[in-house]
Symmetry: C2
Subunit: 216 residues, 2 copies
């Protein structure tokens, strides 16, 4: 059975992924710089089904089979670089978006390599980077009864890894995984998160992306 | 009654907007560098309701009350610059996306000012630029019976103009207009078109964006 670690998993975005991944049957370790805080957050999450969520240090989360990066964008590189050895030869999922608040909007910032996923790929040359979970509303993710029916747009330069993540997402309640393609699409997918959150602020909603035109 | 001109309107994207805008009751002028071709394309479009589509030169389209830019991205600035006087003091809607094909993907190219809308705003200082109609599948737009139920994400630095375009989109069959915010979001909205088209190529679908979490 695959174990899943979430670096910086105590925020609403990471916790939302954690509860739905645990509800798909996985044992999830929420990582934090403050393990006691992670333990407390984990205690507040009640997944359905056979999976579990526990809290620990980022180092423990990084030792899981599959690792998700959910830190603030401006600490993602430093956090993962320090864990480079634990993350080697693994799929590392980046759900990081570089966004800054400007008035009522969250606007995208383009990192030097174009995307946060590309920054992580450079920081972690022995890991396989996959991008996923960018456009999801945290509150609706955390509430398993929210009726969320969202799409997770996935990218990676590794065909098998991105398909594996898509299959995993399909197991999570309320989500569908769709492979978009390579890292060439990373900046576009990450930046669109700013559009979703700006829509939330402006229209007082919890928006998410649902792609029309696909067979169910 | 507002007349609508579409610069470079003979391609599938422009024609798709034309037929649905005419079906909302507007008289639409498809503009082209080759007016005879525009007339021929217009003849092939049968909108429903009281509106019309005719074909003419880009100059004629630019004389309409509201003008949409639907040229290829690498000729958008040159085409509009030459029509700067006709476009002054008008709302100019950019549906232009800077994309290049790479294998099975259409990947975003970021113009020097970040977005094509920003390039047009610089080329047309007397016009009010609004971005709209980026993520729509042309074939489904052209077929009024396709069941399309897509969202048009709209941005502009002019609050009244973007709301006016949203209201206009709401009148078009199969579309809902949603204001995202300012031009700060332009690059993200334009670039996401590359994701939609790459999904189409990879999954053999006609994808479009439908935002969940909104009241209908």
């Amino acid at each position: 059975m695959t174990t899943v670690g979430i670096l910086g998993g105590t925020g609403p975005a990471g916790s939302g992924v954690a509860i739905r991944m645990a509800s798909a049957g996985y044992d999830v370790v929420l990582g934090s710089r403050e393990p006691s805080r992670a333990a407390e957050v984990a205690k507040g999450l009640t997944p359905r089904g056979s999976g579990s969520v526990s809290g620990a240090a980022n180092e423990d989360a990084a030792s899981c089979d599959l690792v998700i990066v959910s830190t603030p964008w401006d600490s993602a590189v430093a956090t993962t670089k320090a864990l480079r050895e634990q993350l080697a030869n693994k799929i590392v999922i980046s759900m990081v978006n570089a966004l800054v608040r400007e008035g009522k909007e969250l606007i995208p910032v383009y990192p030097p390599r174009g995307s946060m996923a590309a920054q992580l790929a450079f920081a972690l040359p022995e890991s396989t980077i996959v991008g996923a979970f960018h456009h999801l509303p945290a509150d609706q993710m955390l509430d398993l009864d929210s009726g969320l029916d969202g799409d997770v747009v996935i990218f990676s330069d590794d065909d098998a890894a991105r398909q594996r993540v898509a299959d995993l997402v399909d197991e999570m309640p309320g989500l569908r995984g769709i492979v978009a393609g390579s890292m060439s699409l990373a900046s576009a997918i990450e930046a669109f998160t700013g559009v979703c959150i700006s829509l939330n602020i402006r229209h007082k909603v919890h928006s998410y992306v649902k792609l029309g035109g696909f067979k169910d």
